[in-house]
């Protein structure tokens, strides 16, 4: 599997560390909503198909990427910096399906 890092170009999966479901929303730090915290920490989307994921280029520039990857075929349809483009990635996911 090759993942394209916006800094470094296409790199082998061995250079990356998986950080899981990219749809999780961390509650505001002051939030007292324990259910929201629990959902954030423990619950995951686990789709069979396109998945919005966070990967870290840990063996490279160490940036975190947001990657849309198909869990049935391992095909990657988009990748970009995780920072700030959360909404864009969600949008891509939604318009695809």
């Amino acid at each position: 599997m090759l993942i394209t890092c916006p800094y470094c170009g296409p790199r082998d999966v061995i250079e990356f560390t998986y950080q899981g479901d990219g749809n999780r929303q961390r509650p505001q730090p002051s939030s007292q909503d324990l259910d929201a915290w629990n959902a954030y920490v423990y619950d995951r989307l686990n789709p069979a198909g396109d998945h919005n994921e966070i990967w870290q280029h840990s063996g490279g520039c160490r940036a975190h990427l947001r990657v849309v990857r198909n869990t049935l075929t391992h095909e990657i349809s988009s990748s970009g910096f995780a920072r700030g483009d959360h909404k864009a990635a969600r949008h891509r996911l939604e318009t695809k399906s």
Binding site: M1, L2, D12, V13, T17, Q19, R26, P27, P29, S30, S31, Q32, L34, W37, N38, Y40, V41, Y42, I54, Q56, S58, R62, A63, H64, T73, H74, A82, R83, G84
Partner: protein
């Protein structure tokens, strides 16, 4: 002259005689021979024994799909088992032995298994060996008793235990077009892509490029096909953009068009050249792939089809044309398709007598009749072989009239005298890599074969791989595939002209002749047609059930020749077409791969070693090292005759009496810098860091998001926006990733950078009553007195002219300092400190003494912060700031995390003055015979020189409430039981007066 070698022909080098042994008998062959061809040339017919019945077996094929002729190759003590003799190139001094036989290949006692034939049917072991339900053999005992003998009878070759002295290496290769297979299709594809300027890699699993051109006897562009291929290879060699890899099996097609290949670099050599690896593992990332992997000829299933000297037709053709070896003098052929006629003629030309061509079909084309006439062979159309005769070699066969539609045999059996029977059951394209790439194969009723699926990754197929079995088609498709893979269309061109023998590529749909006797489908695993039908009767009808129940296709040849016949027999039993039974999805590897090659450079060197700058000094000064993760750290600096305990007690005592120094360079160190650095630390630590003054350090605790303790360490404020965070050695990487994740994903608005500086700083911790005096004696540029360097203060100065940073903090409980210098000067500063300490009785101490002093102080480490404990469990709740939120603060008070019976940190004192053991459990009531009722366990223990007692830290249920009570240590693993007192974890100097000075 060898009995079966032809006078001329073949591509062997008859001027170079090679000497080798098989089962201790010396033989000779020619350069270019395989072990199989050389032994055949010497008249050897018996190569091995089958897995289950130990039936005598000869060689079936001439290639990688060989199921029978498996040998062990010996190089001194080093053994390589289960190698197909068809894939071993002989070299002078080759030593090969047969396998799975006792006492010898010719006389194997386990051949008695054949008598149990009907009992030892497929899956028989599921139905028996269960043993009695009561008595001494109940439970699993009877089975294990039987299994003992089954295990010894099973298995093929024996693996060695001597370490392999050879080297393996890895190549990461990148190209535009990878061509797999170098027959006419592959050669054309490689040339077409290369001419487009593409970077091309061409892999061929055999020693020579050319594939079928090497033995087909066809004429291409007016020259023998083999010469045409050699010329094409020569042209490719002239291209700078082409890499040719012979003896290279592409065995895996992984995601992202990454393919894995194994190059056998020196297996065919008497000794490797200097620096050569035995195998080279290629990880090839390519833009596109041309699959020109050809096809396999299938055996026919009929009684006695496994007898030595029964062989695939094209294999015999190869032996004759490529190696100058005739597998028999009187050859019969049994076929359901036209390709065998070409084989017959080739063998006739090579000097054999073709006694008969037995064809299941009634109607034969005039071209085939002509070929048979040319071969001077009798045609027995609408006939089938119903039996073979002979022991360890074939002596004859029996044929009967056969009706292809009904499968009925009629008339009297006729005997034919022959010493070799060749069979051809049609051809299966080698679609393994395409299937691995992720798609399902499709059945083609005309070809009676699974054809490659539509690509799911970027590959193009060509030649026999696609079901186009003629060389002319291979050439056309090869060129087209090469162009297509190169992304080009290419002008029409004149293709090489092939003069080939005619023939229909479609076989008759006949896979099995049902007659009395064992008809083998999977030769190596002894799976018969009856076994397949038994699986059907018992309901194991899907292809995967068939495989798993009968072990069909699970042998070392992976069913390359048996899968389709097995499926066909099941389909017939079910009365369904073959594709409805299912198709097997192939998985890597295509053929077995040496484990050494996959480990490659990590063979003998699994993980990097991390050494501190003072490592050599430790070794030179008597340290006993042990590994801590990837690091090596001193355990003790033992004196002559000292035990480990004596050494660490001496080191700890000397530290508390005068001073000790320890290497702490392995601690994780992270530079946290930027306008929001303090804010970040406030968020990740449970306690406040924004209030920390510049030039001061503070002990900090981190929680995970789920509210459990994560890591601890001191963080130093070197400037307003500049912090140096330290972490435990074990968690350095995890903490770094934790910070990066939050900064990059959750809080991108924070202006902070984090940089791992673990390897940039060397650290030495010096502690004890004389520690300050030692520093005063060697530190220049700053005072180190209480006013300048108070507890948790930081100063900058020089030691032996090297800039150092000194923080006064203590893990040992003594007045102590951590001295950091640039890693390159670590050993220099260390030696200066040792020198300065000499008049003060400074000792070096290792991890054992470090652990002892931290246990005496009751500090926690990874044994207590074990991922299951909370700050409260460890009595660190005083560090949980109420003035702010932090990672884990929202989750840390959930019901399960505040339950009163949780394991909490306590101290233990041994009341019987005997040592305690790490991992021992604590019980309220001792029961040595039947240990039960654990209330906790020891996390760390030592003999405390300060207390003169054996003490421990422990995690005990409801721990704090138990202070002052007695309990027992219960350690059945080491048979250590005895009384203990539960006390506070702060054994030594609980108010910290020594540390604060």
């Amino acid at each position: 002259m060898s009995p079966r070698r032809t006078e001329t022909g073949g591509r062997i080098d008859r001027l170079r005689t090679i000497r080798f042994t098989f089962d201790g008998t010396p033989y000779t062959g020619y350069a270019g021979d395989t072990l199989a061809s050389a032994l055949l040339a010497n008249g050897v017919t018996l190569f091995g024994r089958s897995f289950k019945y130990h039936r005598p077996r000869g060689v079936l094929t001439a290639g990688v799909e060989e199921p029978n002729a498996l040998v062990t190759v010996l190089r001194g003590e080093v053994r390589e088992p289960n190698i197909a003799a068809t894939m071993v190139e002989i070299y002078d001094g080759l030593v090969a032995v047969s396998q799975n036989r006792f006492p010898s290949l010719a006389w194997d006692v386990n051949a008695i298994n054949q008598l149990g034939g009907k009992i030892l049917s497929a899956g028989f072991y599921y139905k028996t060996f269960m043993g009695p339900v009561i008595g001494p053999l109940k439970g699993t005992r009877f089975w294990m008793f039987c299994e003992h003998f089954i295990r010894r009878a099973a298995g093929l070759g024996r693996a060695g235990t001597a370490a392999d002295p050879e080297r393996y290496e890895r190549m990461n290769a990148f190209c535009d077009v990878l061509v797999v297979g170098s027959g006419p299709a592959g050669l054309m594809a490689a040339k077409a892509a290369a001419d487009q300027g593409q970077r091309v890699i061409l892999c061929e699993l055999e020693p020579h490029f050319g594939g079928s051109a090497n033995w087909s006897g066809e004429t291409i562009d007016g020259t023998p096909a083999a010469d045409w291929a050699a010329r094409a290879v020569g042209q490719l060699e002239g291209h700078d953009n082409v890499r040719l890899l012979p003896r290279t099996t592409v065995w895996g097609y992984y995601d992202g068009n990454t393919l894995a290949a194994l190059e056998r670099v020196t297996d065919h050599k008497e000794a490797p050249a200097r620096g050569e690896p035995r195998h080279r593992y290629w990880a090839i990332r390519t833009k596109s792939v041309v699959l020109a992997t050809g096809s396999f000829e299938r055996p026919l299933v009929f009684p006695g089809n496994d007898r030595p000297c029964v062989m695939l037709a094209h294999a015999a053709e190869r032996y004759a044309n490529e190696y100058g070896v005739l597998p028999g003098d009187r050859i019969a052929l049994f076929t359901n398709n036209d390709s065998a006629y070409r084989s017959a003629l080739a063998l006739k030309k090579a000097g054999a007598a073709i006694v008969a061509i037995i064809d299941v079909r009634q109607d034969l084309s005039s071209e085939m009749r002509k070929l048979a006439t040319d071969a001077e062979a009798e045609i027995l159309s609408a006939h089938a072989v119903v039996a073979t005769e002979g022991g360890k070699a074939l002596t004859g066969l029996k044929v009967q009239r056969f009706d292809m539609v009904s499968g009925a045999l009629t008339g009297d059996a006729r005997s034919i005298h022959a010493d070799c029977l060749l069979m051809s059951g049609g051809w299966s394209p080698t679609i393994h890599l395409a299937s691995q790439a992720g798609a399902r194969a499709e059945w083609d009723a005309a070809r009676q074969a699974f054809l490659p699926p539509k690509p799911t990754q970027k590959w193009v197929g060509a030649g026999a791989f696609t079901g186009s079995f003629s060389t002319a088609e291979a050439i056309a498709e090869g060129r087209a595939a090469g162009l297509s893979a190169a992304g080009a269309t290419g002008a029409p061109t004149i293709l090489p002209v092939v003069e080939a023998a005619p023939g229909d590529p479609d076989p008759a749909p006949v896979f099995e002749i049902k007659a009395k006797g064992k008809s083998f489908v999977d030769f190596q695993h002894d799976v018969t047609a009856e076994d397949v039908r038994l699986a059907h009767r018992e309901g194991f009808v899907s292809v995967e059930h068939l495989k798993r129940y009968t072990t069909l296709g699970m042998a070392t040849d992976q069913g390359k020749s048996s899968n389709v016949p097995g499926l066909a027999i099941m389909a017939e039993a079910l009365g369904k077409p073959i594709p409805e039974v299912g198709t097997t999805r192939f998985r890597p590897p295509y053929s077995a791969v040496s484990i050494g090659s996959l480990a490659a450079e990590r063979f003998g060197d699994l993980k990097p070693e991390r050494l501190t700058p003072m490592h050599d000094w430790h070794l030179a000064n008597g340290a006993t090292m042990y590994s801590a993760g990837l690091w090596y750290r001193p355990m003790i600096y033992g004196l002559a005759g000292e035990t480990i305990e004596q050494a660490y007690v001496r080191e700890a005592k000397a530290t508390r009496d005068s001073a000790g120094i320890v290497d702490v360079s392995t601690l994780g160190k992270i530079a946290v810098q930027g306008p929001d650095a303090a804010e970040l630390l406030d968020r990740v630590y449970t306690n406040m860091f924004s209030t920390l003054a510049v030039g001061k350090a503070r002990y900090g605790l981190m929680l995970r998001e789920d509210g459990l303790a994560f890591d601890d360490g001191t963080t130093w404020r070197l400037g307003e926006q500049d912090f140096l965070m330290t972490t435990t050695t074990a968690n350095a990487g995890k903490v770094m990733q934790h910070l990066e994740y939050f900064l990059d994903v959750i809080w991108p608005e924070l202006k902070v950078t984090v940089t791992s500086v673990t390897d940039e700083w060397a650290g030495a911790a010096i502690g004890g009553p004389k520690a300050r005096a030692i520093l005063a004696a060697c530190v220049k540029g700053t005072a180190v007195d209480n006013a300048t360097l108070p507890f948790m203060g930081i100063v900058h100065g020089k030691i032996a002219d090297v800039p150092v940073m000194i923080c006064r903090l203590s893990f040992s409980g003594e007045m102590a300092f951590e001295v950091y210098s640039g890693a390159g000067y670590g050993a220099h500063v260390w030696e200066a400190l040792i020198e300065a300490g000499k008049p003060f009785g400074l000792v070096t101490y290792g991890l054992e003494a470090l652990g002892t002093m931290r246990i005496e102080k009751g500090h926690v480490t990874g044994a207590e912060i074990d991922g299951r404990t909370t700050a409260r469990d460890l009595h660190l709740d005083w560090m949980l700031s109420k003035k702010k939120t932090f990672i884990g603060s929202a989750m840390m008070d959930r019901e399960g995390l505040i339950a009163p019976d949780r394991l909490q940190l306590v101290g233990l004192v041994s009341l019987d003055n005997r040592p305690l053991n790490g991992g021992a459990h604590i019980v309220e009531e001792l029961d040595e015979a039947n240990p039960h009722g654990s209330i906790g366990h020891i996390t760390a223990c030592c003999y405390s020189p300060a207390l003169g007692k054996h003490i421990a830290l422990a995690l005990v249920s409801g721990g704090k409430a138990r202070h002052g009570t007695r309990a027992f240590v219960s350690d059945p693993l080491r048979n250590r039981f005895g009384p203990i007192e539960i006390v506070s974890n702060h054994f030594y100097d609980p108010d910290g007066s020594r540390m604060h000075g």
